[in-house]
């Protein structure tokens, strides 16, 4: 039975250790903190993410729009410049007759006027339909040349006007050619060809007012640079990456160049030419503003996370502490329940044993009684005294047994809560009966200082007995062999009676005395549950009484119990 009981207890203790282990709370704390942090930080994170994305989009469009406008404006400048020059050449071609134009003197004069009105013209020449240079005004000696083998000649024959790609002339200056075909009503036709230097192209690009790091250039459909690029090479160099699809409307694309830099590229075709205008802004420059914004955002985000984390941690800590506290209280309640269950089962066992013993005890009693009766009836019974002593001894033993079974039954009865009117002196005496043998064995003196006319009070017999037993047990444990325990009862006032149990044992430190009614507080290490005194205190409080302790280390302890004379409300 004992081993089974202790086995169960071990299991329960293990379970309790498991439940109350600090590791479990650490784990729980970690779990809750991370979960709560996740739940709170995740929306913040996604908010920041969305903000980042939106901001990037806005920023991109904010960067792209001016770039697009800039390219659009410059494209118009180019178109206007070329259209003016083309119109001028076209006007001259149609304003004069072939004969007038074929005179070098005339052409020279016209060229001088044209140069005055329009900047950029380098030379002017008349070519007949057979491709022969008829007349020429300009710095080069191009007279009598034939152009039939040249591509531009066929193009102008076919299209009417033609603007060439940039090429380097004899003086190693970049030029473009504008050629216009004119046909009279009579069907005679000629071609007027003018050369422009491209300095004016550079001027238009410079007028775009590009930021440092940005770039703009003209290029033809074959990807050959028509103006110098800050980054991608000189005139007539090849653009190191393919131009994205372009049309006549200025539009912006994000891409990576040959050096793998992220860039925004705005481009548009120039009307009536093979040219495309491109402007480039590197992305890091584009997003320099975003980085400052993002720094702010990052600061808010990080401090937000820190604040959330701290709040979550503190909240969780408070929660876990409370949980731990309530778990401890629950465990305390379970322990107390276990304790009383244990007492109750011991009580039932004791009652059963006492009952079983009663009958044979009654027989022994009667048999011994009969033996004495028989002896008493015969005066001349041999060894009468000797036998009489034996019988007395048997009857005394029966009496002792009767006392033991009586106490055992009394112990069992404690489990039934019942308020009855009791004389505390006799309850004290009865309780002492449990411990008297130990006291005698250890030579502990029990002094009784009991007031004889102690008023009876309504209280629970079993519970008050447990209170006395717990305190007496502690007193007995505290005193050395040969020590002294003094029991005092007195009538305090019209409301209370007092019982004090004083020992001259080891006493307690102030700290121990302060904590002795706390659950689980024990000085007996493995031997005690640390509940005895807290249960005792609980019972006395429930019975409407008070329990006080006075103790001095190495001098002794006095426990004083005050119990009400009248039954109070809410008694257990």
């Amino acid at each position: 039975m004992k081993s089974v009981l202790s086995g169960t207890m071990d299991l329960k203790t293990d379970l309790a250790t498991e439940i109350n282990s600090p590791r479990r709370y650490q784990l729980l704390r970690r779990k809750i903190v991370s979960l709560m942090a996740l739940v709170t930080i995740l929306p913040l994170l996604s908010l920041a993410g969305i903000n980042y994305y939106e901001h990037q989009n806005t920023m991109a469009s904010e960067i792209q729009a001016p770039l697009r406008a800039l390219v659009g404006k410059a494209k118009h400048s180019f178109e206007l410049f070329l259209a003016e020059r083309t119109s001028a050449v076209s006007f001259i071609a149609s304003a004069y007759t072939f004969d007038e134009l074929s005179s070098d003197t005339n052409l020279q004069r016209i060229f001088q006027v044209m140069r005055r009105e329009f900047t950029g013209f380098v030379d002017l020449g008349l070519i007949d339909t057979a491709g022969n240079q008829i007349s020429y005004a300009g710095p080069y000696d191009l007279k009598d040349r034939n152009y039939t083998s040249q591509d531009w000649f066929h193009q102008v024959q076919f299209k009417g006007t033609y603007v060439s790609d940039v090429f380097l002339g004899f003086r190693k200056f970049p030029h473009v050619v504008i050629a216009v075909r004119h046909t009279t009503e009579s069907g005679q036709s000629w071609i007027l060809r003018a050369t422009l230097d491209t300095m004016h192209f550079d001027r238009i690009i410079a007028a775009m007012g590009l930021e440092p790091g940005s770039d703009a250039f003209l290029l033809n459909r074959g990807g050959i640079l028509q103006t110098e690029s800050r980054r991608y090479g000189k005139v007539l160099g090849m653009l190191p990456f393919a131009l994205p699809p372009t049309n006549f409307e200025s539009n912006v694309q994000a891409l990576r160049d040959d050096q793998n830099r992220e860039i925004f590229l705005a481009s548009a075709f120039i009307a009536n030419t093979d040219f495309a205008l491109a402007a480039i802004k590197p992305r890091p420059t584009v997003f320099s503003t975003w980085y400052t914004v993002r720094a702010d955002l990052l600061f808010i985000f990080v401090s937000g996370v820190i604040v959330i984390f701290l709040a979550v941690y503190r909240l969780t800590s408070a929660l876990i502490n409370r949980l731990q506290h309530s778990d401890e209280q629950r465990m305390g309640a379970i322990h107390q329940m276990e304790h009383s269950q244990k007492l109750s089962s011991i009580g039932r066992l004791a009652a059963g044993v006492a009952h079983e013993i009663n009958n044979p005890l009654a027989i022994i009693n009667e048999k011994a009684g009969l033996m004495r009766d028989i002896m008493d009836l015969r005066p001349e019974f041999p060894d009468k005294d000797k036998f009489s002593r034996q019988i007395d001894s048997i009857l005394r033993s029966v009496d002792r047994c009767r006392g033991i079974t009586h106490r055992m039954l009394g112990f069992a009865k404690r489990m039934d809560v019942k308020i009855e009117t009791l004389d505390l002196n006799s309850v004290l005496e009865e309780t002492l009966g449990f411990l008297e043998r130990e006291a005698q064995y250890r030579n502990v003196e029990i002094r009784r200082n009991l007031v004889p006319d102690m008023p009876s009070i309504p209280t629970d017999h079993g519970q008050i007995q447990q209170v006395f037993l717990n305190i007496l047990n502690n007193a007995l444990a505290a005193v050395p062999d040969g020590g002294r325990i003094t029991l005092t009862t007195w009538d305090v006032d019209e409301n209370f009676v007092g019982v004090s149990i004083e020992d001259n044992g080891c006493g307690m430190s102030e700290e121990t005395a302060k904590n002795m009614f706390e659950p689980f507080f024990t000085t007996k290490k493995e031997k005690g549950t640390g509940l005895g005194m807290s249960i005792t205190y609980g019972i006395v409080k429930r019975l409407g009484g008070e329990l006080k302790v006075q103790s001095k280390l190495n001098e002794g302890t006095t426990m004083t119990i005050l119990l009400p004379k009248k039954s109070t409300e809410g008694q257990a």
């Binding site: 009652a351 006492a354 009952h355 009684g369 009969l370 028989i374 009767r402």
Partner: protein, 130 residues
Amino acid sequence: MNTSAWNILLVDDEVEFVSTLAERLELRGINARVAYDGESALKAVAENEPQVMVLDVMMPGIKGLDVLQRVREERPEVRVILLTGQGKTRDGIEGMRYGAFAYMMKPLDLEELIRTLREAMSAHEGTPDA
């Protein structure tokens, strides 16, 4: 009071106990018969008409309290002293409600039993219970 005229019935399933008790009473001049169970107790009551019956509560077969009730119905003039084990005060109190004269606890104090028997006899000689 002349104890020789007393007619006592002792009922208990513990044969050793009840027979020894009867012998001790006889030694003191008290006429005591014994019965070892409820059934024979009821028969003995009908046949021998005892004045007082000492009845153990805990018995196999017919329980002591049932025997008490039957005796109170059939022979209300018979005084019944109940024997209970220690801590079985409740049985004793219940027995008193059924009309037992007294209840005593085992192991018995013979002098106390004789005192109680004497009280029961004087009650018996007075007006019988209805």
